[in-house]
Symmetry: C2
Subunit: 352 residues, 2 copies
DNA sequence: CTGAAAGCGCTTACAG
DNA sequence: CTGAAAGCGCTTACAG
């Protein structure tokens, strides 16, 4: 005699004396429902505190969400990007069956035009969301503006730009990771020590390097340690250029006891140290557990690598867009990664 | 004319010339399928690299998986366990709509009987899987044996026991984290330094402490650094006992330049150092970013905390059982957490 | 403006 | 040992 209570839309439909099709129209705010019916159904939905079953929803709707990823291509020298790509791949595998499609576009870190071209390709392909490494400031701004116009949400990965309408930034807290590097370098300092900050990149003007170096310097300011901090900007990323720039520095500054390389190219500096005769042995801090860095961590030339779980950055970028697009979830505009310290002793267990 | 390819079980059924019911039987290894049919279907499943649609699966099956968690209760003094519990909670929220139920049972770390009682309560409640902190060796063994008999899978969290049939161990690589502590402590060492290992626990005989300390000592052996390493075992976890044990040690050994506390109770040691007059300032390394430790990290009395993402340990424990029970996934018997180094400078970004 | 029906990819009785 | 059918909670044409 007891009527078993129906679930979800069916129960709503029963109470409202309509069919589930009408209920569905109300739930999705679709046109074609009389005001009266709409009100009645809305009320019931509230009464029941109805929560849609997302499983059923995804299953029934054939809709596919298309995401695009625009990041640097992986080369031996920019191996870093292999990790985010793996994370993106993992996210893709996990949720592709829930109606997600991810297309990856790659640009050449030493070629702005390649960024522009790929960005345009994405804009033409009608996507629902974008993961973007905004390496080239102006070009990324232009691209972001285009996305704003089209109403396409985008998240920044690994580095960010100020004053943008990005849905989120997923990457390191730059200033603080530089700050930590400052602290770590103090373990090598003596009375008369000098420090050296090394920037190696074709796009050193990037906001990233400035922030990082400022953090590094702030540590010494905050702690009233007025060691001289030298700086060298190397605009070519080949071994020769690095050697050519570092050699004179080391010759005229024998008291450099700690080196901070502001990106993953610390292995280039390690190679330089290795070849010097006599080999100096300053404390060397770099970024990212790429293969070449791991090698020098192992043989002791690199002391610390600061890492930001790059695989997880990729994974989270995709997941963030997915949560936003499918579940309309509220998203934190800043999703800072932890600042991990990787040494020879713990690197085997690091989740890169 | 082109036949649209069917999805999933339907496509398999079509190719095998059977109905989806039979396909379902094979997928779930249910009895009542001829060897021939089973083989044919299995082959097709492999060919198609079939991945079941979990959405559909969960939607169609009303089944609920019941998991039980048996971990220490959270007190000010065992605050560590708050983090795994949060992770468990997060996993629960994420997948409860996919048919998961998690019940938590807590025991008192200073009361073996409470462990036994809760363990029995779990055994009586008919669960499908168990997350277990095997703090009390003998009692945990007995419980594990009972689970083996009943065929209930269980995973160890945070610490482990040798030679058990646990589905997995999710926790730190103890030896290596001690080893890293050895390395870190060298930053404070001078010519005549002494080191001190401090164990504070009611159950010091635990395998955990031995492993950790061995790792610590191994670092010095491996690197031919024959510093004297003192050791103190404090069997009471109250402040007074800690003070009473440490005081004479520091009075007779003024050259203790580095201290290694083998669990989360490093804040007790920091409190001791704080109150000494004159206050010594050795390098202090402990475990876990619990509130009291964070406080001493901040004011500089603790230098390094080694952490193992306790929140994630909880999350993974649940997810591991879920993957195993729902997807029949193969599970790694060892799931080592990374060995994280937390300092004052990076703690704000640590995912505890 | 509203409804009847098919279907998403599975699972679950039940029938034979 | 195998199949036919109903149903999980939704969405999507299509009909009226």
């Amino acid at each position: 005699m007891k009527k078993k209570e129906l679930q979800g839309v069916k129960e709503i439909a029963r109470r409202a004396n309509v069919t589930i099709a009408t209920v569905d129209r109300v739930i999705h705010n679709r046109a074609g429902v009389s005001v009266k019916t709409r009100e009645k159904i809305t009320k019931i939905i509230e009464e029941l505190n109805y929560q849609p079953n997302m499983l059923a929803r995804r299953l029934a709707s054939g809709k596919i969400i298309k995401l695009a990823v625009l990041i640097p291509s992986v080369t031996e020298e920019t191996e870093f990007w292999d990790a985010p790509l793996r994370g993106i791949q993992r996210a893709k595998t996990e949720i592709s069956q829930y109606g997600l499609q991810v297309d990856s576009f790659f640009f050449d870190l030493s070629n702005k035009q390649s960024f522009i071209d790929q960005a345009n390709a994405i804009l033409e392909s009608a996507v629902d969301g974008i993961v973007l490494a905004p390496t080239f400031i102006q070009e990324a701004r232009t691209f972001a503006a285009a996305c704003n116009t089209k109403g396409i949400p985008y998240v920044f990965i690994d580095s960010t730009l100020p004053d943008q309408q990005n849905l989120s930034y997923i990457g390191p807290p730059l200033f603080q990771s530089g700050y930590l590097a400052g602290k770590l370098s103090t373990y090598a300092l003596r009375e008369k020590s000098q420090l050296l900050v090394v920037n190696i990149a074709t796009a050193i003007e990037s906001y990233t390097y400035k922030e990082t170096e400022e953090g590094f310097r702030a540590y010494f300011t905050d702690h009233l340690k007025p060691y001289p901090i030298l700086r060298v900007d190397i605009h070519q990323t080949d071994e020769k250029s690095v050697f050519r720039n570092l050699q004179p520095l080391f010759e005229s500054n024998p008291a450099i006891d700690a080196l901070f390389v502001t990106n993953s190219r610390s292995f280039l500096v390690a190679r330089f140290l290795e070849k010097m005769n006599p080999a100096p042995k300053p404390l060397l801090i770099g970024y990212d557990l790429v293969k070449e860095n791991a090698k020098y961590l192992d043989n002791g030339l690199i002391d610390f690598l600061i890492c930001h779980q790059p695989e997880d950055q990729g994974y989270r970028s995709i997941m963030t867009l997915y949560q936003f697009l499918i579940f309309s979830k509220a998203i934190d505009k800043e999703q800072y990664m932890p600042i991990d310290i990787v040494t020879r002793e713990n690197q085997a267990f690091y989740r890169n």
